[in-house]
């Protein structure tokens, strides 16, 4: 296996199958840990395709002459190519192809919403089920990470240029990989003690094991990326200071402030932001009872919100022993922003949903602990700015849901630590960084991407920004990038 070719039946005869034969193959389900068992542990839910399952699934790909899947991918992975190589029994070739396009395939193979991206536009989805692109990506990526010895170290000619990346989440790590490939010396500044950003503090172990993220980080470090932890930009250093020390800077700090509901009782003991709850459990390892960092283990838990972070929180609460873990969402099932797979997994694990329900107050006991949340029922009215039907309160529908813990997972906003100490950096009225089409900010040589530009979005969109920013930073360092926003800012500035 370690030479990157397949064993057994698969390796014997890998002549391409005729299209008709390919069409007959049914999509292989992802092997999963039993729902009742996994609702009480933190081991990964999805177990991954076996080699045999992967090869059969690869044969389902029709190798379209016009592959829509590539357009559907925010980082433009050459999907048909790596699947073809896999189908031919050349896993190493498939891995080389995949890694050439995507710096963190072990991560995206697990957490990407393929159903709204590559798999949504897969031709086979028109008449049945799409090729399981995400599952195949994960299989190839996991193979690559356990066979690092068969990959030649990239050895680009050093450019002599230094780039600072602020934040080691998906955008920062992707940009680091891409810039290193082009010969630039990258230093990542991370505020926490460990690298990975939301991949290690936010996304739980059962969806993205932390040793997988660590291996992706290790791969970058082996390629020459330097990581400087405990460095809060805006405090330990400022952005203008880094700009002086480096030839270019990429700001990828995420949207780091939790949003609360702003209802009475929100400071009672037992109310967490999802950021705090998940960071305690994931980064600080509080799911392990021997951990030095404590976390409350609610018996009846209400998680407010309907996105992936809410799903991660409500499923985490189940695993930490909640007899009842309920997702409270103000719109209906149709509007849930979370991935379908996460919603299904949550339901299988015994999570209950209260749709069209909005909290109006957190109730507490005489000792300051949460005792319940008062909610109102909602109905859907006219579509709002987001295009989704706006929830409207039903008068007189108040009720109390007794609970001992509340997790608020209704989104995040920008953290002003960095921007408030960078006077020349233009931000929107929401505090997000303004960029031009090249992802360059109003400071020449400073680029930005991910949630600090978009507001809370997905891992893969952040990675797409990281990849694009790296290409543009490379162009900037070679002196072939225009910078309209920076030029405009300079023109607007008073003469010195």
């Amino acid at each position: 296996m370690s030479d990157g070719t397949l064993s057994g039946r698969a390796a014997e005869n890998r002549e391409p199958l005729p299209k008709k034969e390919r069409m007959k193959i049914q999509r292989g389900p992802m092997p999963e840990q039993d729902a009742m068992a996994r609702a009480r542990n933190f081991a990964e839910v999805n177990l991954g395709y076996t080699e045999q399952l992967a090869i059969i699934e690869a044969d389902r790909c029709l190798q379209c002459p016009k592959p829509y899947c590539i357009d559907g991918c925010p980082v433009a992975v050459n999907i048909p190519n790596f699947i073809r190589l896999l189908g031919e029994g050349n896993i190493k070739g498939a891995a080389d192809s995949l890694l050439g396009d995507n710096a963190l395939p072990c991560v995206t193979g697990r957490v990407c919403p393929q159903e709204t991206q590559c798999e949504q536009v897969c031709l086979r989805a028109k008449t049945g089920t799409p090729v399981a692109i995400g599952h195949l990506e994960r299989f190839v990526a996991d193979w690559a990470i356990t066979h690092t010895d068969v990959f030649a170290r990239a050895n680009p000619t050093p450019s002599g240029k230094k780039v600072a990346i602020i934040g080691s989440g998906p955008a920062g790590l992707t940009a680091a990989g891409e810039l290193t490939k082009r010969g630039h010396k990258v230093t990542i500044f991370e505020a926490f003690h460990a690298a990975g950003g939301v991949l290690i503090y936010g996304i739980p172990e059962f969806r993205l094991p932390k040793d997988i993220v660590q291996k992706e980080v290790d791969r970058l470090v082996a390629d020459g990326v330097e990581i400087q932890p405990n460095s809060i930009i805006g405090k330990t250093y400022t952005l203008p200071e880094l700009r002086e020390r480096f030839d270019a800077v990429f700001v990828a700090v995420g949207a780091g402030l939790p949003v609360f509901m702003n209802v009475p009782g929100e400071n009672l003991k037992g109310v967490y932001s999802a950021n705090e709850y998940l960071t305690r459990v994931n980064l600080m390892g509080a799911y392990n009872p021997d951990s030095d960092t404590p976390v409350l283990r609610g018996q009846r838990v209400a998680v407010v919100g309907g996105g992936n972070v809410a799903m991660d929180s409500v499923r985490t609460a189940r695993r930490l022993g909640a007899a009842e873990s309920v997702c409270v969402y103000r719109r209906s099932r149709t509007e849930l922003p979370a991935r379908i797979e996460e919603v299904h997994h949550a339901e299988q694990e015994g999570v209950r949903f209260e749709f069209l329900t909005a909290p109006v107050e957190v109730l507490g006991d005489e000792k300051g602990w949460v005792s319940g949340i008062k909610c109102v029922r909602m109905e859907l009215g006219e579509p709002d700015a987001s295009g989704r039907r706006r929830p409207v309160e039903i008068p007189g529908s108040e009720f109390v849901f007794p609970c001992d813990m509340v997790v608020v997972a209704i989104g995040t906003r920008s953290n002003p630590l960095l921007t408030s100490t960078s006077p020349d950096l233009r931000v929107t009225k929401w505090g997000y960084i303004e960029i031009d089409d090249n992802l360059q900010t109003s400071m020449p040589g400073v680029f930005a991407g991910g949630d600090i530009v978009r507001g809370a979005a997905t891992v893969i969109l952040a990675m797409g920004d990281g990849k694009k920013a790296a290409a543009n930073i490379d162009a900037y360092l070679r002196g072939v990038l225009e910078s309209p926003l920076a030029a405009a800012a300079e023109a607007a500035a008073p003469a010195h």
Binding site: A191, H193, I232, T236, K269, D292, G368
Partner: protein, 278 residues
């Protein structure tokens, strides 16, 4: 890694560690803190920077051993190292330029108020420090504070200085008048008492809050406190706030969130510690 270059026992449960952290030493201003993580698996805890030595590249941390994490930190010796120190965090103290400031320190809070007193004195402000402890052996930083001005020491049992609580000495100072600002740092009941005491006198009173934190950058929201009925984050909006606007009851309540857990962790640690030293 941040090696410990000096260590001193200041009171039965308060230890001073001088630690290498050149960048933080270079840029820290009074009132700021760091988040410390002793090593792999350890908690992240906020600690005020009590002092710095820029030329040596060191910062001074004064730590009260209460739970497992603080006991482990104070057990470190010269030559040991702390794995992670992040900072400087929080807003620096807004320092008076002139006038008379009273700096009140209770217990380990004395080490937090010390850099404020030092900076005020450097600004030319007249500083009177009021510090206290249960008895003589619990009084810390007295000599350091004397360099900033007059020091009134109070002990609960009267074994040293003036008998009674720091609030009684503060009341006398308020009565005497001429105070422009009071800084009060210590246990929550002491900060509340000082703030209530100065309120009728209309003396601006600043307190430094020690909420539970993880990241120290505003990301977790765990340190939120009610200031004038509005939630603010001690880590990035503070740590210093107007004592007349702080909801101290809520603060004390939230600080108790993990009390049972902390007690159990400490007992486990003490048992293991006793075992190791047998």
């Amino acid at each position: 890694m941040h090696p410990i270059v000096a260590r001193a026992q200041l009171s039965p449960n308060v230890t001073r560690l001088v630690v290498e952290a050149p960048r933080i030493a270079e840029i820290r201003r009074p009132g700021q803190f760091v988040i410390v993580r002793r090593g792999p698996g350890a908690e992240r805890i906020p600690l005020t920077i009590a002092d710095v030595d820029r030329s040596a590249g060191t910062i001074t941390l004064v730590i009260q051993a209460i739970g497992k994490s603080t006991n482990e930190l104070t057990a470190l010796q010269v030559g040991d190292a702390i794995t992670d120190i992040a900072g400087p965090l929080g807003n620096p103290t807004e320092l008076l330029e002139s006038g008379h400031a009273v700096c009140v320190g209770g217990g380990v809070g004395t080490a937090v108020v010390y850099p404020i007193a030092q900076a005020l004195a450097a600004n030319g402000v007249k500083v009177t420090s009021v510090i206290g402890g249960r008895s003589k052996e619990w009084v810390i930083c007295e000599d350091e504070l004397r360099a900033a001005g007059e020091v009134i020491v109070c002990t609960d049992d009267g074994s040293y200085g003036r008998p009674g609580f720091v609030t009684e000495a503060l009341r006398d100072l308020c009565e005497a008048g001429g105070i422009d600002e009071v800084f009060a740092v210590g246990p929550v009941p002491m900060m509340r008492a000082c703030s209530e005491l100065t309120r009728p006198y209309g003396i601006k009173t600043t307190v430094s809050l020690n909420s539970i934190m993880i990241d120290g950058t505003g990301m977790c929201g765990g340190c939120r406190v009610s200031i004038d009925g509005k939630s603010q984050y001690a880590c990035c909006d503070g740590p210093e706030f107007d004592g007349h606007k702080v909801d101290f009851r809520q603060l004390a309540d939230r600080l108790n969130t993990y009390r049972e857990f902390e007690q159990a962790a400490l007992e486990r640690w003490q048992a293991a510690h006793a075992e190791a030293h047998r």
